[in-house]
Point group: C2
Chain length 246, copies 2
Amino acid sequence: MRGPTASVIIAAAGTGRRFSAAEAAPSAAEPLPKVFLPLAGRPVLAHTLSRFAQVDEVVEVVVAVPADRVAWAQETFGETLEPGGRPLRFVAGGEERLESVAQALAATDPGTALVAIHDAARPLIRPEVIRESFRAAASCGAAVVGRPVDQTVKQVGEGRRVKKTVPRQSLWIAQTPQVFRRDVIERAYRKRGRIRGPITDDAQLIEALRLPVVMVLGDAANFKITTPEDLRLCEALLTAGWPFGE
Amino acid sequence: MRGPTASVIIAAAGTGRRFSAAEAAPSAAEPLPKVFLPLAGRPVLAHTLSRFAQVDEVVEVVVAVPADRVAWAQETFGETLEPGGRPLRFVAGGEERLESVAQALAATDPGTALVAIHDAARPLIRPEVIRESFRAAASCGAAVVGRPVDQTVKQVGEGRRVKKTVPRQSLWIAQTPQVFRRDVIERAYRKRGRIRGPITDDAQLIEALRLPVVMVLGDAANFKITTPEDLRLCEALLTAGWPFGE
């Protein structure tokens, strides 16, 4: 049985400040943003899109890319998400991630029930985890894929001196997708200007409204490609047959 | 120039409760602890030992293994760490990690300046990071290899409901090795009975004494093998030629 319909927003407008694209693609005249770099023969973004293409509830995908890449991306990746020929559109992102998502959100079909926001640089998201996040968002209003922290966490001060060990029992690392009922995310984005302090993920906007957010268990392999080494790790995993259990 | 001498303790007595050894080695009559499972053709522990063998300051290695594996391990891995023929000894660990390390600590040569404690299940530690942790411990008294947290961290309560986003700017994930001046770690282990609450790493014992601990930047690849998937990830990395830059 198919669940509520979902619009998917892929955040791909990042410039990858921590990623030396020149190192990974030394021959490129102008360095490509990392999500357009090749991974096992096709762009990182193509892998990410193919994961969402396997989820029936997805009725459209809007990808926020750097402004000068919109036409190029539409030509390269096409105008439909297969199978099913669902619309695949590229919009110009902003300087900050929040602005990029806001632009993409404005371009989604207002008739879908859910909005999922995903980092393009997480190509190893499993479709079953996407489906689980959709179910959790439909029931709770907001759902974040993540992992419980299973390592010791230190609070560190000046000169990398340890201040204390942080109790980790209740800590989770947030990944994406982060999925929301449409009314919830639209309201949160309208009010985003009122929040002080750094915003590092979309769920924080919901938390600021004191609305419920629930965690959904994801995979360790759903990491974000940040460095050239991460890209090689990802390639090694795909070459080794990831996801191993499927 | 060689730095202060170091005894290395490898914690390998864990039963791997989170690791289904049967899955990784279905033909084994009695499941092997995970650090004895094959990784790219030799046991995980052999990889870990080979990393420390590349560090000149290491003058001995004591490995804590399950009590029923001591004789077998000594026969399998030998009595010297090559190159250099440095002593390699196996001792019976305890029920808890802290007890295993205490047993191994008692078996080290009291004449070495530093004691490094490392998880056997982290075979991808780079020798240069080991050396850096030795230098930091010699200068500060206690050093922990780790990584700054670069993802959003949530505090989560009942029913996986998010309570809040935790400011991550000052948070680091602790890995191993954790390296200590001998007087510091011996004192900390003598007083370990006085500490309340869960102890998840050795540096916490030093923190409880209000002695300085400094973080040393490690690699993302220095993760701990916890699941069969982690073992395959490790194998994929080694097959792909990790460490890529060396």
